[in-house]
Amino acid sequence: MFEAQAKHASRTLGLPGARMALFPHPLGGKSESQVAELANLVHANLVHALTSVAASPVKPTAVHSARLAAPSDPAELQRWCFEQGWSDGFPVIPPTPDAVTRMVEGSGLPSDRLVGVVPPRLGLATVEQLAVNAVMAGCQPAHMPVIIAAVQAMLEPRFNLGSLQATTHPVAPLLIVHGPIAQRLGISSGAGLFGPGAMANAVIGRAIRLILLNIGGATPGAVDRSTHGAPSKFSFCIAENIAASPWGSFIEDRGLRPDQDAVTVFGCEPPHNINDHEHGDAAGILRVAADVLRTLGMNTWYLGWKGRKELMLILGPEHAASIAASGWSRADVRRFLYEAISRRRDELAIGGMYGMRDWGADLEALAAPDALVPAVPTPDDILVLVAGGEGKHSVGLPSFGATVSVTRPIG
């Protein structure tokens, strides 16, 4: 079941002939006697794998021809690209040499500039290769600087892209665009920003997905093992609604000017709705928000990236205005949520990933069953920004856990 993923990993990491001892999935949830039965099978398969005739000599990794003949008929092209494993199933714009050249020009960079290496396939993300996927997604050349900055951000080690690409969790990188470039490109920060409704959000987010699929090799069902997938894996791009924010831009807390063009990537679940039509005060609204952001099934309780982990709250403008009218700052919001987003240790022990937790000594010291365990290490690890249109809704975004958001200037 996970054989394709393991073979892909061994091939890309330079061990294409690695031997495998396969056994039926899953191992988790088995009793000791069942594990003992599987151990017999694994032992036999392992000995066979190690003592059988060596695999035929390793073939060098295939180098793709840079140019291909593709069907010119749009419907045929759609079907053909999907069959090749190069698309999400929607129609694609053909990445002809001319179209790709125009897209590259939008970046202001040379076509052969290497932006990074995208895991787990370790595909070379040159400007031209990114442009190919941007064309396919329906982007405009002016979108390229956002795409390049987002890819650079995703390739920061703390983002942990390799794990995001292969996990059974429904994580996708959320792109949040900051600064004047968002308005210039028509990236929606208002009503319906998660879609549908804004072309720039749709196509930039889709370009990122096609880059992760094609350059990164995250083929659904083979390498991308997400149990259910997620609608956010098609496209997941928004802008921050600074005009509606009582506290300025999110990126000011990250040392950037509010008028700086920038992009933040955050590896998270699709939005969880926070509906509160009842409260007009900060504490009331945030108690409801905290309830949404303390679900027992979220990774964040259990896993982190070198001791770091985050949650995100995107406040709708009306909720943000009500909270600000109570005299609360963004830091006040974080402090309140940090206290409110906690659970008793004995609650956390009943499920989720308790047996796999990577808590440090500070959390393990909270040994009493009724000890309250915070979801994130500090109030600053709760990311709070404002976006959306009219209405008494906000959204909570639990992360993958073992990932840290990255903000990067554009250009």
Partner: protein, 95 residues
């Protein structure tokens, strides 16, 4: 079928080189290291398989190294230790 010319969507990959895996002559008195992926029951399974390798092939030592959590790679310290001390490395994958 009428065609058009397009550029390849996936492109080239980084050349990581490759190591040919050879059959192991013998595990007698050998050292086996297991990188536990942190998923439930893997450490238990690995310990059982290690004991069977001792009994069946005379393996001298089985060590199990657990990753910080299932969603991150093994640390450099683990990899250095394993590469310096093991004749055979077993890695857990999946759930």
């Amino acid at each position: 079928m009428s065609t058009i010319e397009i550029l390849h969507p996936a492109g080239k990959v980084q050349d990581t080189g490759s190591i040919q895996m050879n059959a192991i002559p013998s595990l007698k008195d050998g050292r086996v290291s297991v990188i536990d992926n942190g998923k439930p029951n893997f450490a238990r399974l690995a310990a059982m398989v290690g004991e069977k390798l001792r009994a069946s092939h005379g393996v001298a030592e089985v060590s199990i190294h657990r990753k910080e959590n299932p969603a991150v790679g093994a640390t450099t310290a683990i990899l250095d230790e394993v590469s310096a001390s093991a004749d055979l490395v077993l890695c857990g994958s999946a759930d």
